[in-house]
Subunit: 143 residues, 2 copies
Amino acid sequence: MGNENLVFKKFLLSKGLKLTKPRKIILDTVFATHEHFNVDGLYDQIRKKHKDVSRATIYRTIPLLIESGLIKQSLRCLAKDHYEHIYGHGRHLHLICEKCGKIIEVESKETESILNKLAKKHDFKIREFNIGAKGLCEKCRNK
Amino acid sequence: MGNENLVFKKFLLSKGLKLTKPRKIILDTVFATHEHFNVDGLYDQIRKKHKDVSRATIYRTIPLLIESGLIKQSLRCLAKDHYEHIYGHGRHLHLICEKCGKIIEVESKETESILNKLAKKHDFKIREFNIGAKGLCEKCRNK
DNA sequence: TTGAGAATGAGATTTATTCTCAGAATGAAT
DNA sequence: ATTCATTCTGAGAATAAATCTCATTCTCAA
C-alpha cells in the first residue's frame, strides 16, 4: 500500500492541480487505516500531528479523492456524510445496526452482477453501487 | 388506496398519539401521488390548499409515517433527505442519474433474497433494504 | 363539557457543509 | 535558483436543512 500517492498525483497532474502538503497529509491519513471515515473524525486524526490543516481543506480535498477514484461516498450516519476506500478494497455491501451503529461489511459480487444486468436493460451506466440494509445486529437483538 | 389512513390511525392509537388535522393533511398529500418526495416539495404542495401547516409539523410527522411503516427514507439528493412510499408499493431499487436527477425504479426481488441470505449468515435482522446505483442515464450519456 | 396531555406554528437554534478573501505555496519556464 | 501566473490555504463568515423552544390550541376519553 502506498500507491494511492501515485494515483492521486497523476489525477492532480491531469487536472492541472497541485500536490500540496495539506493534500498529502489528508491522503496519507485517509489511507492510514482501512476504516470508513467522516470529516470530523478525519480532522481529529490529522490534528494529532498537524495543527495547520483546516476543516475547509479537508472538505475541499474529499471531492478530489472521490473524482480520482480512491474513495467513494458511503453511508450517511447521524447527519454526517461518511466515506470509504475504493482503491485496494474489494467491493462490499453494508449491514448497518441501527442501535449500536456497527457496520458489517460483506462481499457483494452477486448483487452487483444482478444490478449490472438490470442497468443494462435500462441503458444505464453505473458509476457507483450502493447496496446495503439497515436493521439490528445479533448482539443488539439478543437483549 | 385510502387505507393509509387506517394504518396511520391505528399506529397513532397504539402509541397514545392523536390524529390531528395537520397530520391528516400531511398523510393525504404524501399519498396523493406515488412519487418520491422531500420536505420542501411536500411543504409547497400542502401550502397550495392549506396555509396553516408549518414546516415544523411536517418534520415532526415524517418520523411517525416511517415508524408506522407507511414510508421510508430513500435517497439523499442535493443535500436533502428524500422519502418514498412503502405501503402499497412493491420493493424496488433505484438507478439515479447524476446529471439530470432522473430516478429509474426497478424490481429487486433477486437482490433482496441474496441480501437476506447474507444477513442470515451474519445473524443480522434486516428492517430496511437500501439497494441502488448512481451513474448516467441513456439520454445524458448520448450527448 | 371538561381537563390532562399531546400537538401546533412561529421563529430561534443547531450544525454540517460551503463560500469568501487576502496572503502563501506550487511548479513550469527561465 | 528566481520568477510569476496560477492554484491553495486557513480562518471565519455564510448557508441551509433539520431540530428545538415555548406559549397557545387542539384532541379525545371520561
